[in-house]
Amino acid sequence: MSVGFVDEEQDPDVRFVRGAGRYVDDIKLEGMQHLYVVRSPYARARVLSVKGGITGDELKATMESVGEDAGGRSTVSFPVLSASYVSYVGQPVAAVLGGDKYEAADKAEEVDVQYEPLKPVMDPERSLESEPIHPGTESNLVAAAELGKDFELKAPVEVDETLRMERIAPNPMETKGMVASYDGSLLTVYASTQSPFSWREGLAGSLGLKEESVRVVQMDTGGGFGSKGGIYPEYVVAAYAAMKTKRPVKWSESRYENLLATNMGRGVRGRMKVYADRKGKLKGLKADLLVDVGAYPLGGGAWTAKWIASQLVGPYAVPKAYATAKAVLTNKVNMGPYRGAGRPEAAFFMERMMDRIADETGVDAAEVRLRNATTRRTISPLGMEAPPSRRFFMEALRAFKYSSRKKKEKVGLSFFMLIPAAYGGESAKLAVKGGRVKVWMGGSSHGQRHDVFAKKLVSEELGVPQDVIDFQHTDTAAISGGVGSWGSRTAILGGGALVEASRSLKAAAKKELGKGYSPARILEGDYEAEAFFKPKDMLNTLGANLATARLTKEGNAVVEEVLSFYDAGKVLNQFMLESQVTGGVAQGVGEVMYERAVYSEDGQLLTASIADAGVIHATEMPKSVVMTAAHRSTLPHGAKGVGESPTIGVPPAATRALEVLLGRRFTTLPIEPEKLWALDVSDGGRTR
């Protein structure tokens, strides 16, 4: 079908543009009720009583740690509905059902909750000296890690700096939501998600069901950025309500609710000290990290501190490194993964220090980086494996035309390593019937258009045309297992699984058809193949960004252009890669200039609209140029990860460009508006 100048066959995105996408909120089932969640207006309070609706006294369930968050076991349990105390503004305390959203919202106003407000702990720096926010616990410390060996060193250049990346809201275009329906034995959940299998595990765990009794079907999903990889209390309540009432239940949140009660990313402080010689060669690195976990250590909070610390050295070689890291509780919504999830923090901290070394030694910022880049595979003193980096970075500088640009423009540079979340592998399934090939992966698209590479890979492996291939969203009933889509993993792992499944399907067909085998004959038969792909080799890859900055006529500094040069391995589809990177550039620049979650001292979220949260418009978007170094990986299809690269590489490069332009040092993201103003505020903007 053709719509204007866009051909739907060529570009199925047209489906979304035409309003033909099918999201959770589009689902209407017979007898469906709407769930509305009653939330705490306080950051910290005792709950004295809850009258009305489904309460925590009725549903005594706690949240499971699943999906991208998994591994965050803790002594503190996260109640689905709080019956005794609340720990952040927006925490669910009760839920009501109505025939439509309006009725449910009205009923929610009738629920009577009595609170006794307590003084919240908001500043992570003071969390450890504050009263524990969870009764019965010893302190607000959730995790502490020590990596590498402490050392004493005297070096000609010693620089220390305290750096911060403030909390930000993931803000996907589609907010969270689901529809649950229960037939007496099977709970079916239609989900806006990055991982149906994590939902299944989490819902079954919280509700005490067997996983076989839960089916999770992914709908078109309008963005996640990490926030839809795990599960939330609202999902459990909605599923419970459907089982209790034996009627379908829809829960879909407003933007306001999304901002209030969705896990937020970043919120990390890094105290860094680097030791170098006068030529900028690193001699040692010390770091002390502090992660603001929010109220419950479920959203990756427990492992993030160590995870960031482990990758601080990045793509460089350093003889000595020592890092300590703590994760602490505050009365805010949980910390969770946000595009990059720990990788951007490590890169920002390290790259800021590389620029400091350049400033202290007078050696060019690119040269400092090259001098510390590596010519062989290394394992850092903090335990992270890295590919050789020097040759790639020289390639990047040539691609950027760095030397000539540096003469003319205000330029910032970043080098970094992307560690894809390859752990755990991923699944894929193919089913041939009636002349068509259905394709599933264990985790699938929440906006990345995985269908494009999936069709290409299956078509190439089987030798059948792409137009007989139907890409399916993940459905736990259709495929026997899976992980999820996050951490730059789906093209490499899901893609690898598709290749393996295609090859085993082809082998089965060849065996059956013998000499009569041809790709066309595959389509005449009935075949199924499923594969679970686990890579054996390290898949860590490299990237570089260059940013330039300029002044507006009002004297405000803005990012002018961002160049990206990433080693994405064999590129499966250039247009999709560029689109994904461009979106990440927008988020990277947003994080430098606008995006942040601001809380008042009493714990109220002050950035509770999409505008105040700082999401950028096209007009604030710098020019974006995307380039790739196609150095094949050892995987069957040669791909490497790329999804998180821009949110890792853009912030340090853009920050440096602004720093060079304005001649001020920047240590905290986002940079405050007045610090981006070329007219010095202390001078009162007198100069025109």
């Binding site: 306001y256 950028i616 418009h617 007009t619 405050e672 508006p673 007045e674 103003w677 009162g684 903007g685």
Partner: protein, 292 residues
């Protein structure tokens, strides 16, 4: 959007609308373009018992000069201001401001009357009216009355309008020859509220000195502000008189009382006011000289 329950009325005349407001006993709200009202309803921050939709009332959508005034009907959409050649030629500040309000979607629906009568200190049109010595006409149960813009903005979200009065017209005196106006706004991102905004209206004398000066400020106080001392400092002075311009900027910054918030610190906003007043005086004077 999930607002609480409300009654809805769509009267065809001002008299009928005013009657509905009066009989509601303070429980009704006027709905015009809805660009502030609908978000308030959606978040349940406003819960009026009755919504009086005035969009069907005819004769409130016009831009014309008569009786020594530019007259703009309260239901005129902001986008209509942007398209007016008359405004572009003679009412530069109003024209500029119309182009900086939110985004095109909001401007297509948002009305002049709504932007003014909402009493939001961050809305852009009030500063223009203050700079241009504007007036506002309203109709209530006992007939019409007129306010000076200066007397209209009482406090944040509070104007001099009674609950049963509807704003019908915004007026700006037709400027004498050699006059110019400008509206300058610094916003963090496009479509945002002003971090700070300044409207400047000048009329030049024979020696290109400022014979009349009006300065209005957006987003730096409980209401839009008229920077009277700054205006006084420029009287009889030229826009090229750096000392006078600096003093006016200083006085305008002193007159403001911005809050430190997510858009910046109070100090930063005062700094912006100094810069914008200086630039505004310069550009308004240029525009005044350009026209004869």
């Amino acid at each position: 959007m999930i607002p609480p329950r409300f009654e809805y009325a769509a009267p065809k005349s001002i008299g009928e609308a005013v009657g509905l407001l009066k009989s509601s006993g303070g429980e009704a709200k006027v709905l015009a373009g809805g660009q502030s009202m609908i978000p308030l309803l959606k978040l349940r921050l406003a819960a009026p018992a009755l919504l009086v939709d005035i969009n069907r009332i005819e004769g409130l959508d016009y831009i014309r000069e008569s009786g020594g005034f530019l007259r703009v009907g309260a239901l005129t959409r902001v986008a209509t201001l942007s398209r007016s050649a008359l405004l572009e030629r003679r009412y530069g500040a109003l024209h500029d401001a119309s182009l900086t309000i939110a985004d095109p979607l909001v401007r297509n629906l948002g009305t002049v009357g709504g932007n003014i009568s909402h009493g939001d200190p961050s809305n852009d049109l009030p500063a223009v009216l203050l700079a241009a010595e504007g007036e506002l006409a309203a109709t209530g149960p006992s007939g019409g009355r007129t306010f000076r813009a200066e007397d209209f903005f009482v406090d944040t979200f509070t104007t001099a309008l009674a609950q049963d009065e509807i704003l019908t017209e915004a007026r700006i005196p037709v400027p004498p020859p050699r006059s110019g106006g400008v509206y300058l706004k610094v916003e963090q991102k496009v479509a945002d509220f002003a971090t700070a905004g300044v409207a400047v209206q000048v009329s030049l004398g024979r020696e290109s000195e400022c014979a009349k000066v009006g300065i209005g400020l957006t987003g730096v106080g409980p209401t839009a502000l008229k920077a009277k001392k700054a205006e006084g400092a420029m009287l009889g002075k030229k826009a090229t008189d750096r000392k006078a311009v600096e003093e006016a900027g200083e006085l305008a910054a002193d007159a403001s009382s911005p809050a430190s918030d997510i858009r910046g610190t109070a100090e930063y906003k005062r700094g912006l006011i100094r810069m914008l007043v200086a630039r505004g005086l310069d550009r308004a004077s240029q525009r005044a000289r350009r026209k004869s």
